[in-house]
């Protein structure tokens, strides 16, 4: 397979419109092909899901084809993860994700929405999603929604995004520029080549039985430290401390909310952070 080229992108106009055209519409078109290539959970995510206590419920913000909804595989009914996505065609696949015939809980919505009772989830994951948001502010908003969605006392969060720093086996070729992408990340489009029989709606026309179409999906490739920077920005907006709970005096007049970054790492071309929320008692 030839290396997939990645081209620089310029986000202009309304970011919501830009995402609609360069992310959501594309996932709806490539859903089943995309899904057939996405079945293996990354190790860090499997470990995180295995560590979730029995009886907890969670949100998968940007669930895609729902491949994390059946986890943990060794005790699937111990926890319940609800999948949220913008792409209805991916959700239709997510509804039946996994080996068993179990029906998954999925909701059609936006990761910038907040269609939940505040703090009702015990954990939230957002895997390969926030990098599709087209501005820094919107990426901070997405992290805020995650922090607001989980329990202030014990909520746990795992976020995964695509990194500029690619592993050696990656097929991607990343354009190098003379800009400050080391610090602020890089906006790119990544081609998805869809090679399949012509869509049913278009059969009977002059189309060949198979066709190749290229869809350019927008990504923001994260710079090192940028993801934890989003956490700091989101926490500041919500009046939350970033750090360990023990770092504060135990006696406070009002409860203090905080979030600890318990892991900040890189795995196979992605950056991830694991967060734990905490709150001091009155």
């Amino acid at each position: 397979m030839a290396p997939k080229a990645v081209a620089p992108a310029i986000v202009d106009g309304d970011p919501q419109t830009y995402e609609n055209e360069n992310v959501h519409a594309i996932y709806d078109k490539i859903a089943s092909h995309f899904s057939s290539t996405r079945y293996k959970p990354w190790p860090i995510i499997s470990v995180f899901m295995s560590s979730i206590p029995t009886g907890w419920i969670g949100l998968d913000a940007g669930t895609g084809n729902g491949k994390y909804l059946p986890l943990p595989l060794d005790r699937p009914s111990d926890i319940l993860t609800i999948g949220l996505d913008r792409s209805i065609n991916l959700l239709r696949l997510a509804r039946h994700a996994g080996e068993s015939r179990a029906t998954r809980e999925v909701v059609w919505g936006d990761v910038l929405g907040h269609c939940w009772r505040p703090g009702v989830f015990d954990y939230a994951i957002s895997i390969a999603t926030i990098h599709h948001l087209a501005t820094h502010e919107r990426r901070i908003e997405a992290v805020k929604r995650l922090l607001e969605s989980v329990d202030p006392q014990h909520g746990r969060i795992l976020i995964y995004v695509w990194a500029i720093e690619q592993d050696e086996l990656s097929k991607r070729q990343i354009p190098t520029g003379d800009d400050d992408s080391d610090r602020r990340g890089k906006d790119v489009v990544v081609p998805w080549v869809l090679s399949q029989p012509a869509e049913p709606a278009r059969r009977g026309g002059s189309e060949a039985p198979t066709e190749q179409r290229v869809f350019n999906r927008y990504y923001h490739m994260f710079a090192k430290g940028e993801l934890s920077g989003l956490v700091h920005g989101a926490a500041a907006d919500l009046g939350m401390h970033v750090g360990e709970p023990s770092a504060l005096a135990s006696k406070q007049l009002h409860p203090i909310r905080g979030v600890e970054i318990v892991q900040d790492g890189w795995e196979r071309s992605n950056y991830y952070v694991e967060l734990r929320c905490w709150q001091t008692s009155e």
């Binding site: 919501q16 206590p53 029995t54 009886g55 907890w56 419920i57 699937p76 009914s77 111990d78 926890i79 319940l80 609800i82 913008r86 209805i88 959700l91 239709r92 509804r95 179990a102 029906t103 998954r104 809980e105 999925v106 909701v107 059609w108 919505g109 936006d110 910038l112 929405g113 907040h114 269609c115 939940w116 009772r117 009702v120 989830f121 015990d122």
Partner: protein
């Protein structure tokens, strides 16, 4: 599949609609019953998160009257099996959920609730 476990978590998020925006009211529903694995430990762990009255009201709207109006003190197997059925085995496949406050309607199509808002409705 909006099951009642999910319904118990959903709230209206139209701009400015921040009180009395839960629980959403079902209308014109079609339901399907599908068996799920009974896991009492999951149910016990999840119970503190439940809004009990909302669950009881919603289950009655869907024609299930097995849950008592108050959470019982003893969480015995009979109770937990009823709770399991109500939370995890009743699937709302089609219908509408209406906000009790602003009356916004969230449709359910092919088991998937549409919680997307138009740009001007986003808070």
């Amino acid at each position: 599949m909006v099951r009642l476990i999910t319904h118990n978590l959903l709230a209206c998020h139209v701009k400015g609609c921040t009180s009395n925006n839960f629980p959403l009211q079902f209308r014109d529903v079609q339901i399907e019953l599908r068996e799920a694995e009974f896991n009492p430990d999951f149910l016990r762990g999840f119970m503190p998160k439940l809004e009990w009255k909302a669950l009881v009201d919603a289950s009655r709207q869907l024609g299930d009257t097995s849950l008592p109006p108050e959470v019982p003190e003893m969480l015995d197997d009979d109770f937990l099996k009823n709770l399991h059925h109500v939370l995890l085995e009743i699937h709302v496949e089609e219908g509408v959920m209406t906000c009790p406050n602003c009356r916004h309607e969230y449709p359910i199509l092919n088991g998937i609730p549409n919680m997307l808002l138009a740009e001007h409705e986003i808070g």
